[in-house]
Symmetry: C2
Amino acid sequence: MPRPNLATQMTARILDYIRTNGLQAEQHLPSQTLADALRVSRAPINAALQILEDMKVVRSEPNRGFFLVKGAGELPDLPDVEDTEPEREDEWYFAIAEDRLAGKLPDKVSENELMRRYGLSRTRLLKILTKIADEGWIERLPGNGWAFGPLLTSRESYQQGYQLRVALEPQALLLPSFEIDRGAFAAAREQQQWLLDGAYKRASRSEIFAANAEFHEMLVGCARNPFFLDAVKRVNRLRRLVEYRITVDRSRLPLQCREHINILTLLEKGLRQEASDFLRVHIEGAGLIKVPKV
Amino acid sequence: MPRPNLATQMTARILDYIRTNGLQAEQHLPSQTLADALRVSRAPINAALQILEDMKVVRSEPNRGFFLVKGAGELPDLPDVEDTEPEREDEWYFAIAEDRLAGKLPDKVSENELMRRYGLSRTRLLKILTKIADEGWIERLPGNGWAFGPLLTSRESYQQGYQLRVALEPQALLLPSFEIDRGAFAAAREQQQWLLDGAYKRASRSEIFAANAEFHEMLVGCARNPFFLDAVKRVNRLRRLVEYRITVDRSRLPLQCREHINILTLLEKGLRQEASDFLRVHIEGAGLIKVPKV
DNA sequence: TAATGCATTTTATAATATAAAATGCAATAG
DNA sequence: CTATTGCATTTTATATTATAAAATGCATTA
């Protein structure tokens, strides 16, 4: 019956806050300031600060609040709390997708069956199913139960996703609102170079996929049109589920990275039309060769 | 605690079924057949048939089931049950959108406040809010409450929707999978002609909007790419909320209808590229924006 | 052979309980 | 005088429960 408490998450985020703002030892930590920064009320902040007090990171004085004991520089350590809500929900989402793709789930399933199978409460399961339904690969039947559609498992729809990307991404670069995000460009270039320098051999499939999707979403994000970004993200989300099961042809990755870097370079030179044309060919190339086995 | 029963909805749908299949008087109505046709189990079908028996539309014989009393032709009348679930949920969705656009809802709202305001249960409200969040114009805050984003109310995002349509719709007509749906084309042509013949003067704003959106979605639907259709529908859904509040310039409608009909004609002649180019200009004209062609 | 009738199982929703989070305000430090 | 704490009160999020509706399995009957 309780709710998953924010306080534990806040301890980590408070440490982040101290680090990124470079706070010094003995400095005062007003709870309202932290609350505002972390978009939360003072209640979970205070609870978190008490946890941090037990960890000797901060110190409390009666009626004066909390003070840093150790400076931002080196002293606080990582407690590593990875229990954020949406992430755990995604776990189940992926589990369902995985099982469906592996043929372990029939076309029609009941809610209780899924609840038992994944050990989820109805509320939680329903949230996930609603999301999946919204993505279009499951459908609620009129009375009870849910029916999986072909969107996830058909080979056809996989390529249809590429068609959408070909239509949207090159166009995004040409929108009047497109503007280079220097920081994001630098980070993307660095990551692509890192992959190119050998990381592509060692990285996991999901890391490779994530790096690729991030790159493309970053580009579309620069167009500052939420509809474009949303549509691309939606396709990638589905694509990730399918692509995860494909054996990656790693020999193609260096070329892909070089092409990515080339797109960044073209854009930085202001050659948007050229970048757009190149991006189109780049996506088409990826869509033609990689084919899901299902 | 009960659920809203399907049986009452089924009475109307059974009558529809009888009509569309032209069943004759005295004909047997096997409940399993009806259940399969309406994607439901026999339970709500039997309940509905008993209601119809009270209405003297059907007659039951022990251990033999139900039989039609009146033929499909004329005898059954319309009880007009409009309580289908998703429709009623949409009502609240629109109410929230309307109030938000009218400035009656602040940037930040709590769930209880909304429950009280609209008289909804938490489950129901949550379903709606989740949907809205997915559409991107509200966001759940870390602790309690929800914050409205700018997507719905900003003038900018309205035009960004048109940018997406310009990128997608003309492209959809050129996809290899595009195939004319004769029936849908005929229906669309008829509707546009009907509007052109004067209905545009009398129709309500929402009727006009719906006719327009349907036309465009039908076109994109012919491309048989669910991602394209989904993206366009998503934009239209938001657009509808905003456009509903704008005074329609009815003098422009006849031109719009003629252009729609022209697009149908071009496609029927097999001139897809021409239709695509024309569609692009058509959408740009409506949104009063200019987007560079790829 | 196929459909019904009925008992059993499963599902959808509202109501409830409870811990967590937000909030308002008097008390207090500087 | 201003800003912040401390604490009591209000509000919210989730799991659990209750119940009527829907689905299902099977013996019975036309």
